[in-house]
Amino acid sequence: MTEERRRWLAVLARAPGDELAAAVEGAGAPPCRVVRAAETGLVMVRGRAGGTGERFNLGEMTVSRCTVTDDEGRLGVGWIAGRDKRKAEAVARLDLLLQRPEGALLKARVVAPLAAAQAATREARAAKAAATKVEFFTMVRGDV
């Protein structure tokens, strides 16, 4: 469950806020309470010296977060890069819905197409990068 949930949270965090808000509306949301209202703050991004060594603070980024709960005590959590509080709340609501029995349907209807669109964008950039890969060939002496 945890791995699956990590995956859908990653997909939702990268999705356009408008699409998520529409998905929440379309899902006919069950009774759900806001535990922590959506708010914007900072995360300090860390790196490692040499990529693998000691940790250091690289710089901060804006983030928004929100937590909701339902009557059965499930928690829906939204943590996203940027300042879109509406989106953070939409992610939290969707995260909650996805954990409920009816979640499987929502996953197929909302998460899967978003994941596919994100994969396509990633692949297109990777393909452009691949086109700039250098193919070396060695000059033979005497060749011009």
């Binding site: 995360v43 790196g47 490692r48 990529g51 980024m61």
Partner: protein, 361 residues
């Protein structure tokens, strides 16, 4: 000495209004939108985010618009905004080995797993002004696509580490403590490498570029090669307390540079290569390279090398790398110093009167 001076309110209001008008420029020319700045002046946006130490492309675009393109003023605006927000957490360390690589080159190995990927670089442009860009609405060439190769793109330096020829960068065994943070505690010296890297990551690009250049020209020479430069998106993960696991909150673009440097070896360590490290927000290759040069120069003492140049002096580098601090102290000279100057004026007059009197006697 500062003395409270009153007055000038009307002049200040007028100056601000005129500034706003000048910022807008000729009203017959369409106003810039933040989307245009973010999409079409992306490298300026990246530089503002890096030096402001705050990743938010939309806010960096706004800062650039507000500052009329003055990068240091824009950095200042973003730094000021940052102080209004609470910090929720620190991220897990980003894994640059797992980057979605858009550019990756090495000057030390021609053939390497994953290959040399040029990416959208200025390196092979002719640096001739392109007058086609002066005409709007021109056709944009379509970037060709190819099938990406199978397999990973390991960090180049790890190949040398595997052979034992490159120092291994290992984290300390105990990482339960906080990561030192110069935005929370004032700097004291010796600062250590984590604070040096933080300071340089947010430091002024021009300052680091000049210092890096100075090491190449002999002020703390350390024979670098560009072992690897990589650029692309990495995901940022945050441990969320109520979940008990790390959540991926999105991607940011980073540029990383690892330099390969000589090390003669000493009593306890055999001759091997050492490294300098640069990591910056956005597509900041020049800065990442300069940072790697200066990082390695600042390791002189640790590696038993003579400290001969300013780039090797931790206190000098870290005390002067921040352009908001530097700008503030230089520009404070504009503040009224009327009383100080009166004192100096009296002193110079008195000295001159005394000299004249003595000459007359």
């Amino acid at each position: 000495m500062y003395v409270a001076v009153k007055g000038g309110e009307a002049a200040i209001d007028a100056a601000r209004a005129w500034l706003a008008e000048e910022r807008r420029g000729d009203p017959a020319v369409p106003e810039l939108t933040l989307d245009q700045i973010r999409e079409q002046l992306g490298l300026a946006v990246d530089r503002v985010m890096a030096e402001a130490s705050l990743h938010d492309p939309d806010l960096a675009a706004l800062a650039l618009k507000q500052a009329q393109g003055d990068v240091i003023e824009a950095v200042f605006l973003l730094r000021a905004y940052r102080t209004t927000l609470p910090r929720f957490a620190g991220s897990l360390p980003v894994d640059t080995a797992d980057m979605a690589v858009e550019r990756r080159i090495s000057a030390t190995f021609k053939d390497l797993p994953g290959g040399q990927i040029l990416g959208p670089t200025y390196d092979y442009t002719h640096r001739l002004l392109d007058f086609a860009l002066a005409a709007e609405g021109g056709a944009v060439p379509v970037a060709p696509q190819a099938t990406p190769g199978e397999g990973a793109m390991p960090r180049v330096l790890e190949l040398l580490v595997g052979e034992g020829l490159m120092e291994r960068e290992v984290p300390p065994e105990d990482e339960s403590g906080p990561v030192p943070d110069l935005t929370r505690e004032p700097l004291s010296f010796p600062a250590g490498r984590p604070l040096r890297l933080q300071s340089m990551a947010r430091g002024d690009e021009g300052f680091l570029l000049s210092l890096g250049y100075s090491t190449q020209r002999g002020y703390g020479r350390n024979h670098p090669f560009a072992g690897e430069i990589r650029q692309g998106e990495v995901s940022v993960e945050v441990e969320v307390p109520e979940l008990g696991f790390a959540v991926d909150i999105g991607d940011i673009v980073l540029t990383e540079c690892q330099s390969v440097n000589q090390f003669k070896g000493d009593a306890t360590r055999p001759a091997q290569f050492t490294r300098g490290y640069g990591l910056v927000f956005g597509r900041g290759e020049r800065k990442a390279m300069a940072m790697a040069l200066v990082d390695r120069a600042l390791r002189a003492e640790e590696l038993g090398e003579a400290v001969q140049g300013p780039a090797q002096d931790e206190e000098f580098v870290l005390s002067h790398a921040d352009n908001v601090e530097a700008s503030g102290f230089v520009q404070h000279l504009k503040l009224p110093h009327y009383v100080d100057f009166q004192a100096e004026l009296q002193l110079v007059r008195a000295l001159r009167a005394k000299a004249l009197k003595e000459a007359a006697e």
